[in-house]
Symmetry: C2
Amino acid sequence: MAGDEGTREAGARRTREALLVAAAEVFVERGVQAPVRDIAGRAGVGVGTVYRHFPERAELVVAVYRHQIDDCVALAEELRESPDPGEALDQWIGAFVEFLVTKHGLGVALQSDDAGLQSLHSLMLDKLVPACGLLVERAVARGELDPAVTAYALMRAVGNLCLLGPGYDREDAQAMVERLLAGCRSTHGGQ
Amino acid sequence: MAGDEGTREAGARRTREALLVAAAEVFVERGVQAPVRDIAGRAGVGVGTVYRHFPERAELVVAVYRHQIDDCVALAEELRESPDPGEALDQWIGAFVEFLVTKHGLGVALQSDDAGLQSLHSLMLDKLVPACGLLVERAVARGELDPAVTAYALMRAVGNLCLLGPGYDREDAQAMVERLLAGCRSTHGGQ
DNA sequence: ACTTTAGCGGAACAGTGTTCCGCAAACAAA
DNA sequence: TTTGTTTGCGGAACACTGTTCCGCTAAAGT
């Protein structure tokens, strides 16, 4: 049961939690590419312990962002009953952007072609894309979105637009995403 | 003069050229993050020689892309007399996208916050932004572009949209850039 | 002819991710 | 309890990066 405070297994679970907390902190402070040793140090454990719980560095990254991704999915499910699909999509993308821009590590991680971060990629494919896809479909059905837009490409593009840098900050990213969305609405004009 | 075939200086210039050629090849084959040793090997020199000519790895990257950036600037200057500024901007952005997508290393390099690649960044600031800025200004003057759009943010956004990955290829990037541009045109509609 | 110096190659150093191995403590068996 | 087994742990060790350093050769200078 849940009261196994002193057992070996409980201890392991505690260090795992400590690692997740430490990693999340270090990621926001120094980015996703922060050294494993720093994370281990912050959690007060040795590097070996990190690899015991997360065989690859990338798995730790994925674990850190997983529940945050789940939050995005949850929001999409809330919005999926909305009477105004276009507005719902806007809202959701807005939240997604907020998320990407705040935990600025995720944007980099999503873009990275690191083979290990593939799992994060497929996590997005498995969860985020279907969730977003529903909103997209409904918007398309109402004629509020160009049918050629796929949920995947859209999310990918939004993710890329949220990669910040010197002279290109949060507001710029938000503005550009808005413009992109405007361009994704059904083309009134020709061709 | 130019006929110093056997001099020491001429030899140095030759190895420098060989390095640039080798680096360009390696960059398209394996990306900008390819190991220095591979480049040295391809050029048939030792690593020390690479660092003699390019004190930091990043300087080599900059040198490789510099003249390709110059090509983009030249195109912008050609187009700046065009009677249709909106069309001209479209054409130029199209060429820029083609460029980014082909030498796919540059996109990564431009996005990277690597301190050393700052010089590439400022190269873009110094040359590309003014060149593009002219086209943007003219398009704005004709009312074909939202005045709130700055050349820098636009190029930055386009650069980000051109970061490819599995399931997000050249065509996706091109389509998304077109949509972004559509969203940058003067907002007919409300707010 | 002798000295100086530019250009070069590659060993050596430093910082990453990752693996390996010995150890101590919790558990299982006797 | 005593003995053996397993789990979780720490940190040294390894492989692969960028980068520096140093000795060597041959051209340039005297």
